[in-house]
């Protein structure tokens, strides 16, 4: 098994190191790193904005770049948390708790150094996991019939919507809304235009770029306008040589680093639990097993190492179900799958055998990208900090232009700019009503395949819904769905009882709330 993996990996490096692909991979991680630092812009918005630019590129280069933005953004988000106490990127919110006190003590450089090392350790483990686990998963998934695929998608959708931020009920409603938006356009089997209300341009369906940019571009601009964030650059003078952690610091953070990595990789395997949950769980664990938990929150280096390692291991692990099963764990992954589909590539277990260049090239590019990030991150931190001073009032009009031209460029069609505008207004209304619109995209991307498989499963079983519980693998997935729903109902009932008695106890450690300009994630 190790030999085939090595041979495949060598092949992957061949793909990733082709000058063209290498260039786009580096561009991706750099852009990701940059927007990760900028408050008010996140990987999700950036991938949406740059998505149209990739239409003209080869599939491998496109996916390497877009993936690079995602994990590159995680490195940037940590800088923002540690130096400025701005938890703009949800997975790094918990890093603020100990990262910023360290910065105030003048040890910001050390914290950043430890972050880079932990991130690399976490990411390396996530990638290794992907190399060995993905082919195994594919072997299992190739046996799946339509019923199994359907139940698995149901589990993915349910987990993605209930475990994300905000009320689970609203999350599910958003997913269903996404599924409905995915129905718009001609029916796959009969060609009947559905839910298009006589608008000719909608016969081809809603464009994924328009949906993503409306929800994560325009709606977010409307939410963030005139919400100045106070940026305090007092402590952010970090020199490169401060970043080498001292021996004791390193020794202190090695074990937390490995524990964080483990937690992150476990979280990646449960669909729907992305990096944000991983970092919170690992911080809480680290605090619990520490000999002096009182140290946490005042600048414990373990409180930086552990959540960062787990974030990165979970970010890389997130790619496993996405690439091997075609089931995205969260919205960013759904967007990447959308990018693959635009390139004409059908996601699913056949991806590795049909497009080995994409799969192994992507894995190899993770190594290349992570090494590039470690090398680049260190000398460029000064530059990133300067970038932080670019005010949002210059950022959003420029980004709005990129939104317009990007949507137009996708199909050279002005109608879609209008579509984006309408979706943007609608998205802002959803935000005002307390919805987090991210799961809409998850439903939208999975919707058509879900319907296709559901219809096929029903055709095979002659309309017997029992097929989903009669086949053992499918029954397991359905069982997990029931557990998820049951757990949510249980939590809700407990909350209701507690709120009747008194104040609610928080289970997760309370991190500083993200400022108003947090990206939808």
């Amino acid at each position: 098994m190790i030999e085939t993996a090595l041979a495949d990996l060598t092949y992957g490096f061949g793909v990733a190191l082709e000058p063209h692909n290498l260039m786009w991979c580096i561009v991706g991680v750099l852009v990701g790193n940059m927007v990760g630092v900028l408050p008010g812009m996140g990987p999700l918005a950036t991938i949406s904005i740059l998505l149209p630019l990739t239409f003209g590129m080869k599939p491998v280069a496109a996916i390497l770049m877009l993936a690079g933005i995602y994990y590159g953004g995680q490195y940037g988000g940590a800088i923002c948390s540690i130096l400025l106490n701005l938890p703009c990127h949800p997975p790094h919110a918990v890093t603020c708790l100990d990262g910023y006190p360290l910065t105030k003590q003048g040890k910001g450089g050390t914290a950043l150094g430890i972050t880079v090392i932990s991130s690399f350790v976490g990411a390396s483990w996530g990638i290794t996991e992907m190399i060995f686990l993905a082919p195994v998963l594919v072997q299992v998934a190739l046996q799946f019939g339509p019923a199994e695929v359907c139940s698995l998608m149901l589990l993915g959708l349910l987990a993605g919507s209930t475990l994300a931020r905000g009320s689970p009920l609203k999350g599910i409603a958003m997913t269903v809304l996404g599924l409905l938006i995915g129905l718009v356009g001609a029916d796959l089997e009969t060609g009947v235009p559905r839910l298009s209300f006589g608008i000719l341009e909608l016969y081809d369906g809603v464009e994924i770029v328009a949906l993503a940019l409306g929800l994560f571009g325009i709606a977010e601009f409307m939410k963030s306008i005139n919400q100045e964030i106070k940026i305090d650059l007092k402590y952010s003078n970090v020199r490169v040589r401060d970043m080498w952690p001292s021996g004791p610091d390193l020794k202190q953070s090695i074990l937390p680093m490995f524990r964080g990595t483990l937690i992150g990789s476990l979280c990646a395997l449960i669909p729907g639990t992305g990096p944000t949950i991983a970092s919170f769980v690992s911080y809480a664990t680290e605090k619990k097993i520490s000999k002096n938990p009182g140290k946490f929150g005042t600048g414990a280096i373990e409180g930086v190492a552990c959540p960062e390692a787990s974030t990165h291991s979970s970010v890389q692990g997130d790619f496993i179900p996405t690439m091997s099963l075609g089931i995205p764990g969260d919205t960013t992954m759904a967007l990447l799958l959308g990018a693959l589909m635009i390139q004409g590539i059908v996601p699913g277990p056949q991806l590795i055998s049909q497009h080995p260049d994409i799969f192994w090239g992507l894995i190899a590019s993770f190594w290349v990208g992570n090494i590039a990030l470690v090398i680049l991150n260190v000398p460029m931190i000064g530059l990133w900090v300067k970038l932080l001073t670019v005010p949002y009032k210059y950022l959003y009009p420029s980004a709005l232009f990129f939104v317009c031209i990007g949507v137009y460029g996708a199909n050279n069609d002005m109608f879609q700019v209008g579509e984006t505008m309408v979706i943007g207004i609608f998205g802002y209304i959803l935000l005002l009503l307390g919805f987090h619109p991210a799961p809409v995209l998850l439903g939208f991307v999975l919707g058509p395949r879900f319907e296709e498989n559901f219809r096929r499963a029903m055709l095979i079983s002659r309309g017997d819904l029992g097929v989903f519980v009669e086949r053992p693998i499918s029954a397991i997935f359905i069982g997990l769905c029931c557990v998820l729903i049951g757990a949510q109902v249980f939590l809700w009932l407990r909350r209701m009882r507690k709120s009747a008695k008194g104040p609610v106890d928080e289970i997760v450690p309370q991190a500083p709330q993200p400022p108003a300009t947090s990206p939808a994630e």
Partner: protein, 153 residues
């Protein structure tokens, strides 16, 4: 006393959207479970969304009885208007005059949405983005949108 809550509207909106989908879906052939028609999924999802909307509104009945505001504390009508006007102007000027006027109008008006931006600042920003946009999209990426033109064609 009846208090207005965010979740009543949130649930109501979902019920409305579900109704639209379910009613519109009946115009297509629904079929049977065994042989599903194009109308099956819209109707099924629409009904599900109505159900979820009822749950959202229903579960908020028992919670705290403070009045909730739906609009944010500070109303940014000007900002919201300017952001929406950006893409709208991009469409109009893009159809009439090409990339340069479309970009300029979009960025200029959107920039004015911020309270501290001056007209001069917005002009400079719009000019800068226009130059950058033309170089990147017209010359480097060869997007088939005319840089400058006159009238509908």
């Amino acid at each position: 006393m009846f208090k207005i809550k965010k979740d009543y509207y949130a649930g109501g909106l979902m019920i409305l959207l579900g109704l639209i989908a379910a009613i519109e879906g009946q115009n297509y052939n629904i079929g049977t479970l065994r042989q599903m028609g194009p109308g099956f999924f819209p109707v099924a999802l629409g009904v599900l969304l109505i159900f979820l909307g009822l749950l959202i509104a229903g579960t908020s009945l028992g919670t705290s009885d403070e009045e909730e505001h739906i609009l944010p504390e500070r109303l940014e009508w000007k900002g919201w208007f300017c952001i929406i006007a950006g893409p709208a102007l991009f469409i109009i000027f893009g159809k009439l005059g090409g990339l340069v006027p479309a970009t300029f109008a979009c960025v200029f008006v959107a920039a004015l949405g911020d309270r501290s931006t001056t007209v001069k600042g917005a002009l400079i920003l719009a000019a800068g983005v226009t130059v950058f946009g033309v170089v990147l999209f017209s010359y480097l990426l060869k997007m088939p949108m005319p840089v400058l033109k006159w009238g509908l064609s």
